[in-house]
């Protein structure tokens, strides 16, 4: 019978001018409108009306379609937990009877209009005194009058206009974080101030080759320099000493030890020279080292303020749940949930712990946990795992396992989550150790030589060697190379957690991909209709039916119809959605059915399972055709895979989804790559672990998107979270990659490799400088002038070299 179907060619795109929502810019039909403005949903329209009533329409003039798509209505009880005093106390920064201060993270902030609207909240509600946004941190600070508006109302207002705050109790540490940042800047400021003044006071000496005519003046200058160097030594340089000391106490010579030694030797020799009146000291060099090192670290430690790389499941789960106690509703924190507690889960809420359904019908979306796209139907007494999202009506459930013992959260009890990775494995460390060792040998030889010929010069030559040959230029080259590379990665929307990830990235030889959301688009799909040709009326009928449904396949078909035909919605009556089967309704007194094969054709043998990507259509009981929906692969992904295969990377695919796409994946990856389907989060973690134990040389990069990949991301050497929208939440990872840039993965890896070459070259350069400096030092003839010239020249030239080299290499790699 399939042969009789006429295969319809894909209708040309752009056949009609599409209507877009005035608020959020999404394509929509023209059913909802006001004042000649069209909206995709009532939510968007309500927001527009609220803004219009308050004279805030400038929101739409500042940027093009600035609005945020309103994702369905949230239930009135959604933020009820904000009435809970304990939660309130944790969120409010300041509270008294007349004023409350609160800070929220709003991941949706994206344009100037957002800033404008959010800073004008006080015109919508009189209870808000003022609000202030920080665009880069995506934060808002709100001061409000608790007598006029409650915290819950503030959050509900924000959520209503599309900026639902992301509320989590374990990420409240931003205040503390800021202070730490300031400390480093103060240290740099003090070091810079002292350096410039010491340099100024040293100029007379530079020009008179170390001898100033008037002894009084020289004395004053020297003591002034000494006074200026004290804050640098005791305040700015303190972190080098504490870090070096910590290392020594653990019997491990860390990277700060040689720097601390150099600073200490330079300072004490200078103090001795000045107090004894034998010389001018090397205080300019010392403050210079401290200043440049601090700037280098600051540059390298650039962080992305609006990202969080350390989220665990707690950040995804709701803060509060509705508890049923003796028939009464109560809000409670999720950590307080015990086995046997009864809870209410409303539409679009997440199930916080493994629980059994007591009442109602669950229609659970597990995409978060398993990556499987299709929602599952769960009836009474059936077990539902934590992390699922209820798409249907409100259900009552009884907790079976407490939150931290649940199926998905157990993953976090695995010890990979407490282990720190990429710690102290940098290839610079052995270099700096060899360097220090060589330096000691040279200084020792010099001491031995002078003890034979002129013992008065031993002290002079040894200290001078230690002063001039500080490994700081070595370290500077690394910090500036990585710092600059981080910026280049960031420009390409690849946000690394810190610089040690670059090194780990350069060693990668095995790449594991998650399929859904990583290689494929998670929301878009290819739709192909096969069957009888449909007249316009029938297309409108299908459209009106799928419009009513929240099933992902319905949405995809709706999107497809809207983009290819000019659709007119019709009245659908008796709309029914049968979970796991399909949807039906009667339009223009004709029965329209969409769904699985068995749903359409009762006589069809139910034993032959229908593939999940097929939606059959029947109108008035006649089979019309089938919509075939296949994953849409991201642009450039096949090319990237071909390239990686040619470069002999070991490629693997892990998917939580079914194997419908197997043949397509094999066409990209070839027969050699292993492709695994139906993988649970725990299996993904174990898979990475096994890869690493089987081959100890395997350095694994995992590319994943959901919470279901969290364990694998953590277990791998470099875990990259792919995010459709960088404001979305990503699981704990080492890097966040914008989904549109996935096809640049091979370039990122190669760029990370080129970073090592740049560092090696700059090491050679710095060693050349050291040879020059040492050749003076071992002769005991290192004048403060030579040290003062050599130090900044070597530092500045190395910094310039690595910055230019990394930028050039980024350009060549097409980044």
């Amino acid at each position: 019978m399939e042969d009789s179907w006429v295969q319809e060619a894909k209708p040309p795109l752009g056949k009609k001018t599409t209507t877009t929502c005035y608020h959020c810019g999404e394509t929509c039909d023209a059913t909802i409108h006001t004042d000649n403005k069209y909206f995709c949903c009532d939510g968007c329209k309500f927001v527009f009306q609220l803004l219009q009533d308050n004279g805030l329409c400038a929101y739409y003039e500042l940027s093009e379609k600035p609005g945020i798509k309103i994702k369905g209505k949230f239930s009135s009880q959604r933020f009820a937990y904000l009435e809970n005093e304990e939660i309130k106390g944790k969120l409010l920064r300041f509270a008294d009877h007349s004023q409350c201060h609160v800070n929220f993270y709003l991941p949706q902030i994206h344009c100037a209009s957002c800033i404008w609207l959010l800073e004008n909240l006080h015109t919508i509600d009189q209870g808000i005194f003022f609000s202030k946004t920080n665009f880069q941190r995506k934060e808002i600070f709100i001061a409000f009058d608790p007598a006029k508006i409650s915290l819950r109302k503030v959050v509900e207002l924000l959520a209503f206009i599309g900026y639902e705050p992301y509320i989590s109790l374990n990420e409240g540490g931003t205040k503390h974080h800021k202070k730490v940042n300031h400390k480093r800047i103060f240290k740099i400021g003090v070091a810079g101030f002292c350096l410039s003044n010491i340099m100024m006071l040293s100029f007379p000496e530079y020009f008179s080759s170390g001898n100033i005519g008037q002894a009084d003046l020289q004395k004053v200058f020297s003591y002034l320099k000494l006074a200026l160097s004290i804050p640098v030594f005791f305040y700015s340089a303190s972190e080098f000493f504490t870090s070096a000391w910590k290392g020594i106490r653990q019997k491990w010579l860390n990277i700060d030890a040689p720097i601390a030694l150099a600073i200490l030797v330079t300072f004490s020799r200078s103090v001795y020279e000045i107090l004894s009146g034998t010389g001018a000291g090397y205080l300019d060099s010392m403050t210079g080292i401290v200043f440049f090192m601090l700037v280098g670290r600051w540059f390298q430690d650039k962080t992305y303020d609006s990202f969080s790389f350390d989220r665990d499941y707690k950040s995804y789960f709701p803060l509060g749940v509705t508890l049923l106690k003796n028939g009464k509703e109560e809000t409670s924190t999720i950590s307080a949930l015990k086995k046997g507690d009864q809870i209410l889960v409303r539409q679009n809420e997440m199930i916080p712990a493994d629980a059994v359904i007591l009442d109602g019908e669950g229609y659970i979306d597990y995409s978060f946990v398993s990556g499987e796209n299709n929602p599952l139907l769960k009836r009474r007494t059936e077990l539902v795992y934590a992390g699922g999202k209820q798409l249907g009506e409100t259900i009552t459930m009884e907790i079976v396992n407490p939150v931290d013992q649940s199926y998905i959260t157990q993953l976090w009890n695995n010890d990979v989550f407490t282990r720190q990775k990429n710690k102290d494995k940098s290839f610079i460390h052995p270099w700096s150790r060899y360097f220090t060792l060589t330096l000691f040998i040279i200084a020792g030889c010099a001491a031995l030589y002078w003890s034979l010929y002129d013992p008065s010069k031993i002290w002079l030559s040894v200290t001078a060697s230690l002063i001039v040959a500080c490994p700081c230029s070595l370290l500077l080259s690394a910090t500036f190379t990585f710092g600059n590379m981080l910026r280049h990665f960031g420009k390409n929307k690849f946000y690394l957690k810190n610089s040690s990830v670059i090194e780990a990235l350069s060693r990668i030889n095995t790449i594991v991909f998650d399929k859904t959301g990583t290689l494929t688009h998670s929301s878009q799909a290819n739709v192909f209709y096969e069957g009888e040709k449909l007249p316009d009326e029938e297309i409108n009928m299908i459209y009106s039916l799928v419009k009513e449904s929240v099933h992902p396949l319905s949405r995809i078909i709706k999107q497809y119809l809207m983009l290819t035909y000019s659709v007119q919605p019709l009245q659908a009556i008796n709309f029914k959605e049968i979970a796991g089967k399909g949807i039906m309704g009667s339009i223009n007194s004709r029965q329209v059915k969409l769904g699985s094969r068995q749903f359409i054709d009762r006589h069809h043998a139910s034993s032959s399972l229908s593939r999940s990507g097929e939606v059959y259509l029947s109108i008035s009981g006649f089979k019309k055709g089938v919509f075939r929906i296949s994953n849409q692969y991201r642009d450039g992904v096949p090319e990237m895979i071909t390239y990686l295969l040619a470069k002999k990377y070991n490629l693997q695919v892990l998917s939580g989804d079914n194997d419908a796409e197997k043949s397509k994946l094999e066409s990209f990856f070839g027969k050699r790559a292993s492709i695994h389907f139906h993988q649970s989060p725990q299996e993904k973690l174990n898979f990475i672990k096994e890869l690493k134990t089987k081959n100890s040389k395997a350095k694994v990069l995992m590319l994943g998107d959901g919470l279901n990949d969290a364990g694998a991301l953590k277990q791998s050497d470099v875990g990259v979270a792919v995010s459709e929208n960088t404001s979305q939440f990503t699981p704990a990872c080492d890097a966040i990659l914008d989904s549109n840039e996935v096809s640049k993965l091979h370039r990122f890896i190669e760029y990370a490799r080129s970073g090592r070459t740049v560092i090696t070259w700059s090491f050679i350069l710095s060693i050349l400088y050291n040879i020059v400096g040492l050749s003076f030092a071992v002769q005991g003839s290192l004048s403060p002038l030579i040290a003062a010239i050599l130090m900044p020249v070597s530092s500045i030239s190395i910094v310039t070299f690595v910055t230019l080299a990394t930028s050039f290499s980024a350009k060549r790699k097409g980044l």
């Binding site: 009533d53 800073e119 941190r137 009084d216």
Partner: protein, 60 residues
């Protein structure tokens, strides 16, 4: 030469003043957000004024 010493004392004092100003401004959070103020200053009138303007306001 005492004039030179006086001069140096002054110069360090002034530079120190700038250092204090720098620390003060960092502490006050003036460098915490280097983007939003640049957008904020481009916004036109106060929204309160807009609300009363007849062209935009709508009867509730």
């Amino acid at each position: 030469m005492s004039v030179l010493i006086l001069l140096i004392a002054f110069s360090i004092l002034i530079a120190g003043g700038f250092l204090v100003a720098f620390i003060w401004s960092v502490r006050k959070g003036q460098y915490d957000d280097d983007y939003t103020p640049s957008v904020r200053m481009l916004f036109d009138d106060k929204p309160v004024a807009e609300k009363t303007s007849p062209s935009i306001s709508k009867p509730k």
